[in-house]
C-alpha cells in the first residue's frame, strides 16, 4: 500500500501540487520518506529547517514510523488566527 503525502501553503506552491502518492518501503519513517521526497522535488529542501510533520493527523517527530496506507502531511510553520 502506498503513502499519501500532503503539501500546504508555501510548500504546495513550491512543489506545484497538494498531494502525491509514494510507494511504501518497509521501516519507513518521517525522515526516510522526506529523503525520497527531496530527491524527487529538490525545492522541498529549502523548507526542511522549519517543517513540521503529521502522520495520520497527529504531529510526529522525524523518527516516527510511517506505516503503509498512512497520510504524511508536510506542515510549514502555521499562521492561522
Amino acid at each position: 500500500m502506498a503513502i499519501t503525502v500532503l503539501f500546504f501553503a508555501s510548500l504546495a506552491e513550491a512543489v506545484g501540487k497538494r498531494e502525491l502518492s509514494l510507494a511504501h518501503v518497509a521501516g519507513d519513517t518521517v525522515a526516510s520518506v522526506r529523503e525520497r521526497l527531496v530527491a524527487e522535488h529538490p525545492q522541498i529542501a529549502e523548507f526542511t529547517e522549519t517543517l513540521l510533520y503529521a502522520v495520520d493527523e497527529e504531529y510526529a517527530e522525524e523518527d516516527a514510523p510511517v506505516p503503509a496506507g498512512a497520510t504524511l502531511a508536510l506542515i510549514p510553520p502555521v499562521s492561522g488566527g
Binding site: E49, T50, Y59, A73, P77, G80
Partner: protein, 151 residues
C-alpha cells in the same frame, strides 16, 4: 462543542448560542479580524489555506483541554478559509463558565494555542505582491534562524 473549519462567513451569534448555558454567568468571545496593514505594508486581502480534517481535530483537542483546564461550561472554535477581505472574521473563539475570570483566561490560552498548533496558513496579498506568512509563534519556529522569528 462547536468546532468548524469553513469557507463560509463566521457568525459570532452562533458560537455564543452554542456555548451559552443557564449555569454559566460569563461568555467570552474573541474575533480574529483581517487587518489592513502588517509591518507597515498595506494589505489588500488575505487567503487562508488549511488542512481541514487535522485543523478540526486539533481545534477540538484544544477546546476540550480548555474546558478541562479552566473548568468551562463549553467552548467553540471556528476558523475560516479561502479569501478574506479587510474587516472579515478569520477566527472565532467563544467560551463560557460560571464566572468571568475563567473565560478571560481560557480565551487567551485557547487563541495562543490555536496560533501555535492548528494547521492553518495565511497569505498576505498586497497591491504589488504576496507572501505566505510563517507564524512566529508556530511549533517548529524555535528551529528557525533568528531573522525568521522576528523579535
Amino acid at each position: 462543542m462547536l468546532i468548524r473549519v469553513t469557507p463560509e462567513r463566521l457568525n459570532p451569534e452562533e458560537a455564543i448560542e452554542a456555548v451559552r448555558r443557564d449555569e454559566a454567568g460569563a461568555v467570552d468571545v474573541f474575533l480574529g479580524v483581517v487587518r489592513n496593514t502588517n509591518k507597515g505594508r498595506a494589505v489588500d486581502h488575505l487567503v487562508y489555506d488549511a488542512y481541514p480534517s487535522m485543523a478540526e481535530k486539533t481545534m477540538r483537542e484544544l477546546a476540550e483541554e480548555a474546558v478541562e483546564r479552566f473548568d468551562l461550561a463549553d467552548s467553540a472554535v471556528l476558523h475560516r478559509t479561502g479569501r478574506l477581505e479587510i474587516g472579515e472574521t478569520s477566527l472565532l473563539v467563544a467560551v463560557s463558565a460560571g464566572h468571568r475570570a475563567a473565560t478571560f483566561e481560557a480565551g487567551h490560552w485557547l487563541v495562543n494555542e490555536i496560533k501555535r498548533r492548528v494547521p492553518v496558513w495565511k497569505k498576505e496579498v498586497w497591491a504589488d505582491g504576496e507572501e505566505w506568512i510563517e507564524g512566529p509563534e508556530s511549533l517548529g519556529m524555535e528551529r528557525a534562524p533568528a531573522t525568521m522569528r522576528g523579535s
